[in-house]
Every structure is written in C-alpha cells, then in structure tokens.
C-alpha cells in the first residue's frame, strides 16, 4: 500500500502548491473534472458499466445549484448540497431504467436519456436556454468565508475534491467495492454467489451520479455559470476519454487523465476545430494500443521492473 500513500501525498502537495504556479481557475477546473472522472471511473472502471450520459448529472447539478444560489439566495454550501442531491435523484431514475439492459444497450440507453435531459435544459425557462444561467454569485461559505476571493474558492474546491476522492477510494476498497469488481469480472458468478447484482449496480450508479453532481455544482460556483455545454453529449464523451486515457480501473488514473485533457484544451485552444479531431485520435490510439491508460501502463512498467511498492 506504500505506492498509494505516496500517491496521496503527491496529490495533496500538488493541490496545495498548484495555485502558486498555475492560474488557479484552471486548476479548479482540473479538480472539478478530476472528481467527475473519478466518479465516472467508479462505474466504468470498477463496475464495468459504460455510461454515455454522465453529462446530464454534471450539467443538471450545475443548473440546480446555480438556480437556488442565484434566484433563491441559498448559501453556496446549500447550493452544492442541492445540486448533488438532484444528481443523485436523476441518477436513481437513469440507473433504474438503464440497468435493465446490459453492455452496449446500457451505453445507448444512458446516452438517449442524457439527450432527453439536454432538450429539457434547452426548453425549460429557468435554465436560460442557449444563454445558460449567468452571474451566479459565489457567496459566503458558512456565512463568513468570502468565496469571491480566488484563493478561498480554490481551497474550498480542493477540499471538496479531496473529500470526494477519499470517498471514492473508500468505496472501491470496501466490501461493497469488491462486489462491484466481482460483477465487472463475472456477473453470472456474482449472481450465483447470492449477490443482488441489480441493487449493487444501481447503488454504484447513484453514487457515481451524485459525485458527478458534486463536481458539476462546484464547477458552477467556480465559473459562476451553468450552461448547455455541460449537458451536451460531447461532455459525456470527454469524461470517457479522461478516464480511458488516465487509466480506467486505477485510483489515480482519472485525475491524471483529467489534468491532461483539460490542459490540452486550455493550451490547445488556438487549435480550434482540430481539438475535436485530436480528441478522436486520442480515443482511437487509446483503444487500439493504450488500453491500460497512463497510470495503468506506469503501474505495469513498475511491476515489470521489479520495484516493490
């Protein structure tokens, strides 16, 4: 377990030091996506379920959080709770429908349901349609910490990320996580061992959706904006890419993947339309010859070289 402890220390040290080196808003974006990717990985990497509709949770949690904070004057922490809770409810509905089908159908069902939520976001008046919800105030955390201050906001986001990440790590290494892995490896056997597989899948789905919502609500406060971009199917594809590139089924992989992809989008902004092509190319390369992802390959390399962690 030493490797993991080193990973944690590196992660926390990087998180604390990053805003002094890199533009803090960019790091906050990476942290939100890293949490989103980790939540997604819980489903894809550990349960073997490919959801192509996770943008719905990210985006709708953002809308709910933005709405209650901006229009109803709720405090930021309550806004985040509201966003996360709504994503959990949405996750329960999606999950209940989607787990009725397995494999490839599961992916198509989640994609279609997310598209439904995209159209709702486009048509409902309170989401602001094409304009989105703009100018969401960051407010005061617990009534006295001013989040309009970037440094305060940054450490708040870091705390949320580490909390979410810790929770996912705990879930993966708990007996619950072991059952999920058993379902991934051999579902019929898990059933024959007496596990109520559907309930475990649904629980994993709701947990993943709620944490994706946590990331989405936080992101709304960071950017003070909830928009259609976050509910679009491109976003669902992006989160698959981050997880795949970083290494699905690894604890730290999605964090690395999120960092690489968000960094690429940020510094590659002048590439314009080529970003889509590049994203597609990375997908193809990952699937054809890099299936373990960055962290997965590194772990395999270390294992082969015989270094004990």
């Amino acid at each position: 377990m030493r490797g993991k402890q080193i990973g944690w220390i590196v992660l926390i040290a990087l998180g604390l030091a990053a805003p002094f080196v890199v533009y803090p808003v960019l790091v906050m974006k990476i942290l939100c996506f890293a949490l989103f990717a980790c939540a997604f990985n819980l489903l894809l990497g550990y349960t073997g379920l490919l959801s192509f509709g996770h943008a719905a949770f990210l985006g709708w949690a953002g809308y709910i959080c933005g709405y209650v904070v901006k229009e109803m004057g709720w405090s930021p922490e309550l806004g985040i709770v509201a966003g996360t809770a709504s994503a959990a409810v949405l996750g329960f509905v999606f999950g209940s429908l989607a787990i009725r089908r397995a494999g490839i159908y599961f992916a198509m069902v989640t994609l279609a349901l997310a598209q439904l939520m995209y159209f709702f976001a486009l048509q409902f008046p309170f989401t602001g349609g094409e304009d989105g919800l703009q100018g969401v105030p960051r407010g005061h955390l617990l009534g006295f910490i001013d989040l309009a201050n970037t440094t305060n906001m940054y450490y708040f986001v870091l705390a949320i990320f580490l909390g979410g990440f810790w929770l996912i790590d705990r879930a993966i290494h708990s007996p619950f996580g072991q059952v999920l892995k058993a379902i991934r490896e051999n579902e019929p056997r898990a059933i024959s061992l007496g596990y109520d597989v559907d309930r475990y899948k649904l629980l994993a789905f709701v947990l993943s959706a709620a944490l994706s919502g946590l990331a989405g609500a936080t992101k709304t406060l960071v950017y003070q904006l909830a928009s259609l971009t976050d509910v679009h199917w491109h976003m669902s594809g992006e989160i698959v890419l981050m997880t795949l590139l970083g290494g699905m089924g690894t604890v730290f992989g999605p964090v690395v993947g999120a960092g690489v992809v968000v960094g690429l989008q940020n510094y590659g902004a002048e590439l314009g339309q080529w970003v889509t092509v590049l994203t597609g190319l990375i997908f193809v390369i990952c699937v054809l010859s890099f299936r373990r992802g960055i962290v997965g390959e590194l772990a395999a390399l270390i294992k082969r070289s015989g270094i004990r962690m």
Partner: protein, 294 residues
Amino acid sequence: MDILGVPIQALMGQLLVGLINGSFYAILSLGLAIIFGLLNIINFAHGALYMMGAFLAWIGLTYLGINYWLALIAVPLVAGMFGMLIERTMLKRLYRLDHLYGLLLTFGLALIIEGLFRYRFGISGESYPVPELLSGGFNLGFMFLPKYRAWVVAASLVVCFGSWFIIERTKLGSYLRAGTENPQLLQAFGINVPLMITLTYGFGVALAAFAGVLAAPVFQVNPVMGSNLIIVVFAVVVIGGMGSIMGSIVTGLGLGLIEGLTRVFYPEASAVVIFIIMGVVLLLRPAGLFGRER
C-alpha cells in the same frame, strides 16, 4: 377540413415529414443492426458516415459535376470501401476484447470525421439542389406532395425491404444469419468469415452513406447532421431491439410517424418523444419490442 382541430394539410404535412425522418431512422437502424449482428459492435460512427455520404454527394456535384443519380450509386460504394478499410485496419483488432471498446473506437472515429468536416466546411451548412427530374410535386387535393419527398420514402422502403429480402431469403443472407448465430461453426463449413465480416461492415456503412445522399436535398448538408440523428437512432434501436431486421424497419418508420404526430399535437415534446417512449419500453419490455434477451 379539420381532424381534432388540426387542419388536414398541416396534419398530412407533418406526417410526411415524420415518414421521411422514419425512413432515415429505418435505414440507419437497419445498418446498425446488421453490423451489430455479425461484428458485435455498435457503430457510433454511423451518424458521421451518414453525414459523410451527404457531403460526398455535395462535393461531387460542386467540384466534379457528378449528378444526383450517379452520386446515389457512387457515394455508397466509396463510403463502403472506406468502411472496409476501417474494419480491416482497426475494428478487426478488437473482436477478442470487450464490446465496449468497439463503441469507444467508433466514437473516436466519429469525432475525427466530424471534426475534419467541421474544419473544412464550418457549421453553417451547404444546400444541395433537388434533382430536376424530382422537382415540383403532385397536388393530391388535400395536400401538396413534393416529388422529392415521395421519392425519399419510396427509395428508403425499396432499400430496406431489399436488404430484408437479401438477409432473410437468399443463400448469402443465410450465411450472414449463420455467422450471427455461430461464426466458428460457419468458418468450419468453409465460409470465409473474416471476409464476410469486412463486407458486412462495408454494406452497413454504404447504407448509412446512401441515407446521407437521400437526405442531402431535404436537409441542410452540415457536419453535425449525423451526430444529432445518431442518438435518436440509438433510442430507436433500444426500442426495437436489434434481433430482427423487419423489426428495425417497422420501428424506425413507426417512430418517425409518432414524432410527426407529436409535432402537430404537442410540438414542445417532439424532440423528446422518442426518448420518452424508450423509457416506457424499458419499463414494460426491457428487451425491446422485437428483441430477444441475450
């Protein structure tokens, strides 16, 4: 003349639009079903290939002077060869892996194709003129039927039922069905299964491109026309189930009509009605209307 308070012209007009959309759903979901049957891959690039078909027709007309009728044959052939190239170089390497990798690979391909066209043509779109032979329309008394739209429906039906006939009623089709059931056994009987898989993927892609050429004069030819459509087609496939060829055709056409009716009676829901039906079908009949559990 009104039906339930809706003028009959409006009703018939929307039903026609629904039938046209349904024709595209039918051709695309048919292609997806054929590919899935043999390759066990959901071809996420199907929408992008449909878009490519429309663009190839437009490019052919604009730069090479290839007319509509020639494009209707040439474009599917070119796209089919492109598809076979993809199958030989990439998809072939995924058959031993989890099915999800096929979905992810074709998703990447869809992004590449869409991105390239967007880079070259922007997102505003190009318009493709209706071929001269099919311009104008018939006055049916209760509505005006543009010739081209009637042609789209007729051509789609011919292609769909032609595919059904080949698959269900010919020797070649029996190989295809056998390959879907048990490829190892078919191989043992001396059929070249890898070649058959390549041809099948090529055929599926050619169908998508054919739909693209048909669609070019009806819709704006633009780089995102495929991605918006493919998600609806996925829902159609979930509703119908991919077990039966006829099921794909009937579901596609039926859902197009339902969408058209929704546009008349409750326009706000027309974009989402198919997704809602999908949810209901999942609750009542998880395997899909024509599907088998597997």
